[in-house]
């Protein structure tokens, strides 16, 4: 008879919180790595362009205030 190998991630109720915490910690490490990257110039430039394109009194040329679709 061949013994079947145990599943790598057997989630019993008492283990599930620890597993969830471990997953969240790894996810946060991955996510924070991305969030720490420097802001690409394209976005700083975009914000400056959007601002400059507005009229001097601050209203956008096409008329703002319409709710988002």
């Amino acid at each position: 008879m061949t013994k079947a190998p145990t599943h790598p991630a057997r989630h019993t109720p008492k283990n599930s919180d620890a597993v969830g915490a471990a997953v969240t910690a790894r996810l946060k490490a991955y996510y924070d790595d991305i969030a720490r990257q420097a802001v690409p110039d394209r976005f700083l430039n975009l914000l400056a362009q959007l601002d400059a394109a507005s009229d001097p009194d601050g209203k956008p040329p096409g008329g703002g205030g319409k709710p988002s679709a």
Partner: protein, 194 residues
Amino acid sequence: MGSATWERMTDDQETRIFKAGLLDAIRPLRAFAISLAGKPDRADDLVQETLTKAWAHRDSFQPGTNLRAWLFTILRNEYYSQLRKRGREIEDADGAIAAMVAVPPAQHAHVDMLDMRQALAKLPPDQREALLLVSASDMAYEDAARICGVAVGTIKSRVNRARRALAAMLAVKAASEFGPDAPSHAALSVPGES
């Protein structure tokens, strides 16, 4: 060109606060977009579109409310809108990894990032976004529910399902990530033994 050119003497207080909020939100928006879309190029286009729309509709933002959530909603809507236009998106996890502009960390950490990205890409989008909003972005359940347009209970169950699925894919153990695992067991068992 930095943030200094982004401020104007003539801006009123609310506009200045809004602008500061947009600037502060770029990194979180990028992190959410990259993790949601899986492809840095696609993600940066999403952020571009989000910032453009946010500025165009800034008059519809209620000052004092959650700007972060408002921006994430715009980005999320744009993501799904583009998905619908493109038809069913085939998750190209390998291609995304090849195109990834990697921050060169230690070798071990780099492998971790590849595994996580692949695992996230395999989640259904509704689970992925719930997990990213709540567990990665630390957003409140109520805000995440509003962004996704579902009930709080739905978000909670999606987050739980996503965490379980991720754990299985990453083979995360309760005790330690370096404990004995399936490959060791397989190595010990002898094939064909009766």
